[in-house]
Symmetry: C3
Subunit: 484 residues, 3 copies
């Protein structure tokens, strides 16, 4: 099939299937259906709407302007960064309504309301984190397939964690950030080609870095809404303030660490664009629960430091030794801080007591209540709570949720990576990597106004040793359909 | 008069007249007047404020950042795109308070509240759509005159449609988008010069295209607020969700169509910047009414496809054969999708029944109610409803409103175009078109860091045939004051 | 100490001290503490949250995207503009919670809620205004010290004005804008080096100017929230509308004045980026009080004009004759319009009567009430009102507040300037001014894709006469610790 037909066909097919699924399975939540609108319903409609809409819009801006512009740092890949964010998120948003909705069907159809849309944004965030690890190395059709797979698997994992294990993660640091990061890294591992490392196109320019900071700022500014959107009342209030403090703290420590790691004490734009945000990830699982604001500063400070260290030492190591090339460094911004969030949530669950939290203990950890009750939680699932868990039990379930997320993300990512290596998903040739000219009608020669500053992942002077990869690859070879 | 004095004088005169008009005709709405504030009024003040302010701010961002940056795609016209958006909208916003207010005067003066400001934003959107068709071809003073004329005529047309004809168009796709597009195209036709087509300055650069995407994203993100701002309760809730779905669908089909129309399956930035938004326009008239979300996906999918086809085939044709040069392609983003919205609203009006919508039928189509009642609608007009219309009658009035809008927009645009051709409005020489250097103090030689990518409207290899123009021009010649 | 260690050590020390202070002195406001959450508290939590959060987020965007991008106009200083805004504001935000909190301690600890965070943003704005005067001339460590000093002094000044003098300044034009501008100018004066004037790096490029307009627009768009965030009900409603009108008016007069001052009637990007915002500053002290909207247009028109005149005539004069080099021209955007706001507030206080404002007089000027009552005002202070002041007395106290602000800002700025001249704060060499290459790891040679347009402050053809500076400098010499 000609390329022009192929992309159009693939996207048309996806939209067609989505249309049919919406027609067959989805309808507005009952209070919004014109036929059922009454004065009493209107009040509840307005309350639900006002509870979610402003924060939904903030998260919406984070997804598109935040992630989209953050990824424009590559000097020859700005169109793709913003364009793919727009396209792929549009796919994920529709698909997520269905994939998340099937877990909360009450009657015949999936109910659609602002909560569904907020959940869909969460799925888009998860995908975009993975996309960050793969930026510049996958085709439009591959990305679409990744979005479809990841959204389905991620929604299942979230259901497992929130409903089955009743782990608590209001800001989604475990179910969204950790999941997205390790899923993306697994795909990157399976689709790795050694010439991705040290590629001459993989660098920023002065101007592309200033564009990228637009993304950083909008993520930084609206992150409190992200971590607070699923909770309410005092929990929402605390989630906003703790997130705000964690971000300011990670901002300071990221600058400090960045300066400290440069021979002449200069700052590195890569760290500032990313690691200043690590506090928002690390505080996500506990922001609404923490009773003392200084704890948020501790978590944020740690996250900023770890993230910069990751960019300096771990990313090059992963790229060289483990064949995991991570274009945006999502392991440093979402992976490690996400795991830190998970660990914090375990510690907090183990130490939170009725003495410290009063009756609101049962609101923040519903499974610790002794009475059975039903709520629709902020992630849109219908949960039966009240398991009379002890603090230690709750902590254990937080741990299981973290481990389950890591396992499902990595195995799901490996499976997805193997799938998209099929020729029909149009893998990108390594010489076309990180270059808009392949997928976009750009008059090539004029483009390099974007002047090179430096490669994002410092390329090693010598050829990478890929022994580990060789070993794993030989195992994978049998399952492989098409050699890279 | 010297140019320096002339622009300053014109703007000073406009602001002076506005000041006098505000002094004489405008005051705060009664509940906000300090003298009349009581505890009961305060509650109503807060309710009105909270109902409008968040969505007003979203629309405000759409107007300035959305439209302003969307138009920075021209590589030598970024200052003017953003600067003129700022200036001209500031004129329109003040003037619209008065021009829209005269239709809703209760007592001695025009009442001013958040609803007035939201209405003013709508007028600014209408102007900016027209401005998109004329970008790079008109002077600051011409633009001011267009804004003044269009705001007055557009407010009259909206009054006719909403109050007299009682057509329903909550997102303004008929009264704002269709009106603005055809008004602007009519002005473009009357002020056409053949060297506008294929002008060497009329192209984007890699960087200017990345700037332009800032505008696209903020329009895309806040469009649900735009379509939902004038309604409330379940209608607002549905308007947001349907707009969201239509935008995601038009996003997919725009990418698909763009890829399909390129010989090598590559994407065109022009389509991505614009056609991904077409779903928001096309769903505007019906977003709050639709009872099933999949209908929004159908409308959005159609809009994205039509819009890309328009950029590829219709815009070059209009420019060459019809002397309608449309710099931003507003015909493809606002014109045709606006007409599609109008047609959708006719079909929906004809098929909506008490059976499908229950009593909320009278809320979405007040003229279908049998009882007379008074409401202040979201556009700020005072309407008496209850005409006992049938579904067919309502559909017919939707059609009349669409046709009236098209006629008034085109005739108003022609009249305005003839007016601004007068020498006193300082028409722009064709060799100065699409160039910031004329109106801005830019050190010329250094500017072309912006490297050419491609002209926006593909220039024809041979001279355009302008037979139609010649014919119409000979008719217009008598009314003409100053030959181009 | 090595530079790499020094910056990291300084930032680590700051964060460490902040952490200890938060641990010892700060806790969540009682209704938010988990242990004290009850159903009744939840309602009050949600009300407080909803009252502040949306406007807080708007102000948050103004601080980071608004100020951050506004300052990217320098063609070689974009990293520093955005990066320093992010870092320094993160320091100020945490520190301000404590410095502002100590004036409102009720029990043992400083209570933390959304109001604290809004107040912290105000301190960040104050700092960023000063930072604008110093942009490109101070090091990261100097900036941190300025932020720490200014936040402490500014919070004290605000307490003096709002609580002791009971002056009324809802939008903070006196306590934030005027204070920040003159504080920054005083620091600039004390740290002046004559080669800052006419420096070859101090110019914009075409692209950096388009970046800068992102900042302008977000400031312009969210300014109504800034001026309205501390008030409520009808006052909030009026504050938004008056700010909106003042901004549109200052936009027109800034364009008019800019065009008028150019020999060929062309616009100057510097004026458009800044002076269009002057109306928001000038209306800040009275926006919520004004009873007639046309007054807002008058104030805005004046402000836009004064601001452009300042850029054209006063800034070059200050730089040459008074040794006050003001990189962003904050004197024109915040200084003079802030004083205009102060004068407006005096006039308004003198002319507002029970006849014009009814009982709401005591809400807008609580000190004029005859009964003693307690409120927590929007700035987060606990104020006892009811001093039975006459209109003239209130006007006099507005004047004292303005004069006190000017004196404290200038003397605080001089003291801070003398402090940061100490070698340990790492002053920037004059040849490194306005250059990202010093503090950032930028591959130097490639950077100048940013092409020079023009120096911001027009450099004089001849060497500046610095007689006044010489005179003052000889006075300061004795207090000086380290010659520049």
């Amino acid at each position: 099939m000609e390329p022009r037909i192929k992309t159009a066909f693939a996207l048309g097919l996806v939209e067609g299937i989505l249309l049919i699924l919406f027609g067959v399975c989805v309808t507005f939540d009952r209070p919004m259906q014109p036929r059922h609108v009454t004065a009493a319903q209107e009040e509840s409609n307005e309350a639900t709407f006002n509870r979610f809409y402003p924060m939904f819009e903030d998260v919406h801006v984070m997804v598109y302007v935040g992630f989209g512009y953050l990824m424009t740092f590559l000097r020859r890949f700005g169109y793709s960064a913003v364009g793919n964010t727009l396209l792929q998120s549009a796919i994920v948003l529709q698909w997520a309504v269905i994939m998340r909705g099937i877990w909360r069907v009450h009657g015949a159809k999936i109910p659609l309301d602002m909560e569904s849309l907020l959940g869909a944004e969460f799925s888009a965030v998860t995908f975009l984190i993975s996309f960050g690890a793969l930026l510049g190395k996958t085709s439009l059709i591959q990305n679409a397939m990744i979005g479809i797979m990841e959204t389905a698997i991620g929604a299942g994992n979230e259901y497992l964690g929130v409903v089955v294990l009743q782990a608590v993660d209001p800001g989604g640091s475990i179910f969204l950030h950790t999941f997205g990061a390790y899923f993306g890294l697994a795909v990157a591992f399976v689709t790795h080609k050694k010439d991705h490392v040290g590629n001459r196109n993989e660098g920023s320019s002065y101007i592309s870095d200033v564009f990228s900071m637009i993304g950083t700022l909008f993520l930084w500014l609206y992150w409190p809404s992200f971590n607070a959107a699923t909770v309410r009342g005092a929990e929402r209030h605390r989630a906003v303030i703790n997130t705000y403090l964690a971000l300011t703290a990670s901002c300071l420590t990221a600058f400090a660490a960045s300066s400290c790691l440069d021979g002449r004490g200069r700052l590195d734009m890569v760290h500032i664009q990313n690691s200043t945000l690590a506090g928002g990830v690390a505080i996500g699982s506990i922001a609404s629960i923490l009773a003392e604001p200084h704890s948020a500063i501790i978590v944020g400070s740690l996250a900023g430091t770890i993230s910069v260290l990751g960019y300096k030492f771990i990313s090059p190591f992963l790229a060289r030794r483990w064949s995991v090339h991570d274009t945006c460094g999502v392991h440093n911004l979402h992976g490690m801080p996400g795991v830190l969030a998970g660990i914090s949530s375990i510690i907090l669950a183990a130490t939170t007591s009725h003495q410290s939290h009063g009756d609101s203990l049962f609101s923040v950890y519903p499974a610790r209540a002794s009475v059975l009750f039903n709520v629709t939680d902020g992630h849109g699932f219908n949960v039966t709570y009240g398991l009379n868990r002890s603090a230690g039990e709750q902590a254990a379930f937080q741990l299981w949720a973290l481990l389950a997320t890591l396992s499902i993300a990595i195995s799901g990512g490996v499976a997805t990576g193997l799938l998209i290596r099929l020729e029909c998903f149009e893998p990108v040739d390594v010489q076309d990597a990180f270059d808009d000219g392949v997928a976009w009608n750009v008059a090539g020669p004029e483009m390099p106004t974007f002047v090179e500053v430096k490669p994002r992942v410092s390329s090693p002077p010598r050829r990478p040793q890929i022994r580990f990869k060789n070993r794993v690859m030989s195992i994978l070879r049998e399952t492989r359909v098409q050699a890279p």
